[in-house]
């Protein structure tokens, strides 16, 4: 595992994230320096409100960055037009699709939008990508179901299929494991892991499932009020990074079992 030789896909330099409110900047987190290598699974963890979603949204250019740079494939993210960015980066958000009346096939097909003509007509290549996306996420059987008929776990897989159909090198997922039971949380994260291994995509996701993320992620971004760490889960455990994640009067990180325990 010599990650040094791998290409860097996503790079942040002294990045500050937050939001603008009446022209004043409200910084949520700053001095974020990460270099994400190609084809790995990166879990982003931290407490509520620490800025996990904000970070993902900033990387996806859905929210303006406050300071510093995001370099995406050797090009500043600000230099990408929305349609250029759509060719290289897809997102999966926590929000459900606005229309619940879409069938799974229609929804996944919409992922081909950046490539289709003015009327959105699908060609053979598009259809191939859609089928492939359905197969990878095991949603082929669901393709004629309507969105409102799906369970939460199925919905999440379908949304991932849509991002896959968009055929981008990087996929950003905002809390893909919320509302899911333990089995489905593990299922989704294993699916993401499989996707990085089989398709070579780089996948960044935020989650509250720290235990699962430690087991499955190649690298992790740990966000604490003081700073942001980026390393492999093993190194992060060694450097006691997870201990600073939560106030230590309630739960503590057990280094041997690699999980959190409630202090009794």
């Amino acid at each position: 595992m010599n990650s040094e030789n791998k290409n860097i896909v996503l790079n942040t330099k002294d990045l500050s994230i937050g939001y603008l409110k009446r022209k004043s900047k409200i910084v949520i987190s700053e001095q974020i320096n990460v270099s994400v290598e190609e084809g790995i699974l990166v879990g982003i963890v931290g407490t509520n409100g620490i800025g996990k979603s904000t970070l993902l949204r900033t990387l996806g250019k859905m929210q303006p960055l406050l300071n510093g740079d995001v370099i995406f494939k050797n090009k500043n993210i600000l230099d990408y037009s929305p349609s250029d960015l759509a060719d290289v980066m897809s997102i999966v958000l926590t929000e459900a699709p606005a229309s619940q009346n879409l069938t799974v096939l229609e929804l996944v097909s919409l992922g081909r939008q950046p490539y289709t003509n003015w009327l959105g007509t699908l060609n053979e290549e598009d259809k191939g990508s859609i089928l492939h996306a359905l197969q990878l996420t095991d949603t082929e059987k669901l393709k004629n179901k309507k969105c409102f008929e799906l369970s939460d776990g199925q919905k999440q897989r379908v949304m991932i299929a849509r991002a896959l159909a968009q055929d981008t090198e990087v996929i950003l997922l905002d809390e893909p494991t919320t509302h899911l039971d333990l089995y489905h949380r593990a299922y989704i994260l294993k699916l993401l892991k499989k996707l990085t291994q089989e398709t070579g995509k780089t996948i960044l996701y935020s989650t509250h499932e720290i235990d699962l993320a430690i087991q499955l992620s190649d690298k992790m971004i740990v966000m604490t009020p003081e700073n942001v760490h980026y390393d492999t889960p093993e190194n992060l455990i060694e450097s006691n990074c997870f201990k600073s994640l939560f106030p230590d009067n309630m739960i503590e990180f057990d280094t041997t079992s690699k999980s959190f325990k409630v202090i009794k």
Binding site: P82, D87, A98, S99, N101, L102, Q113, L119
Partner: protein, 329 residues
């Protein structure tokens, strides 16, 4: 789809009402010859009227579909943006405030072209105001509410105006607000169909954007959609469609809201490439049916078209809600 067209056409032909020409005579009249007076009724009254019905129904229904997708709200319709209230305000100022114009100017303005101009201007001005707000406010729901607020403000101004006007002017205004598909000259029909075609063409260029908007604003943006431009185009198409139709046929309620939902009952896809023409046809058909009913066939009375569309539209929406418990879009 072809079947719908045929049904549409049959209803179009069987629009017999005020006087009673036979069906075969009617069809021969369209190809000219036979009795002069019937010829006049068909060519200069019924034909423009049914064409207006087709355009008004189809146009309003498409405008409704555009609004429902843009705002991702099943309750949106072409008039939630305050378009009809703007038109009403224009007409109200013209009719109810006509005394201030006085003499010849007032006489000219009260001519049907004056009404058309006033309602088009009214809806356009309201639209400009909504657009100006839309560029500042990012939230589409907020735009929806602002449109409703514009509606109540203009409604209030109309009430104030009607309070100060006399009975005759009030009656003229109320007649306009009933809506009417008749009394269309071929020239006004030409202008109406031109605005209709422009509106539909803009909608067609938006088909792809409309589909992507079904996922929601954020997903749409992440797939490279120019959201501001799309919003602008969709609102523009809606105002051209709804504004033009309101100008000539008066405010016609419920078609824009009910037809897209009705169409979704038998068209299962959400793809606008199929949905848009289907909604267009369905709107035209429904309008023709409403118009036929409004004529009360074989009697000399004509009911206000606006009342008929509401009488049918409201129960349809209620029926859909009761049956499905949820309006999906």
């Amino acid at each position: 789809m072809g079947l719908a067209l045929i049904v549409c056409f049959i209803i179009n032909i069987s629009l017999g009402s005020v006087s009673i020409p036979f069906k075969d005579v009617l069809s021969s009249l369209i190809g000219s010859n036979t009795k002069e007076s019937w010829n006049y009724i068909i060519v200069d009254y019924r034909l423009p009227k049914s064409l207006t019905a087709i355009i008004a129904g189809g146009g309003l229904a498409v405008a409704g579909l555009l609004m429902q997708t843009l705002f991702r709200n099943p309750l949106a319709g072409p008039f939630v943006l305050g378009l009809s209230s703007g038109a009403s305000l224009g007409v109200a100022i013209l009719i109810l405030g006509a005394s201030t114009f006085g003499g010849a100017v007032g006489g000219f303005l009260l001519h049907s072209w004056g009404l058309v101009f006033a309602s088009a201007l009214g809806s356009f001005l309201v639209l400009l105001a909504v657009m100006a707000v839309a560029l500042r406010v990012k939230d589409t729901m907020a735009i929806l509410i602002i449109g409703l607020m514009f509606g109540s403000v203009t409604g209030a101004v109309v009430s104030v105006l009607s309070y100060f006007s006399d009975a005759e002017q009030l009656q003229q205004y109320i007649f306009w607000s009933f809506g009417s598909l008749g009394n269309m000259s071929w020239l006004s029909l030409f202008i109406l169909s031109t605005s209709f075609i422009i509106g539909i063409l803009i909608s067609i260029t938006c088909i792809k954007s409309l589909n992507i908007l079904l996922l929601g604003e954020n997903y749409a943006k992440s797939m490279g959609l120019n959201f501001k431009r799309t919003t602008f185009l969709i609102i523009l198409a809606t105002s051209i469609l709804a504004g033009g139709i309101t100008a000539f046929a008066g405010p016609i309620a419920f078609i824009g809201l009910a037809v897209p939902h009705l169409t979704r009952q038998f068209i299962t896809t959400s793809n606008h490439k199929i949905l848009l023409p289907a909604v267009l046809l369905c709107g035209s058909i429904l309008m023709l049916i409403c118009d036929t009913i409004a004529q009360i066939p074989f009697s000399e009375y004509t009911l206000p078209i606006n009342a008929i569309t509401s009488l049918f539209g409201a129960p349809i929406v209620i029926w859909l809600l009761v049956r499905k418990r949820k309006l999906l879009f």
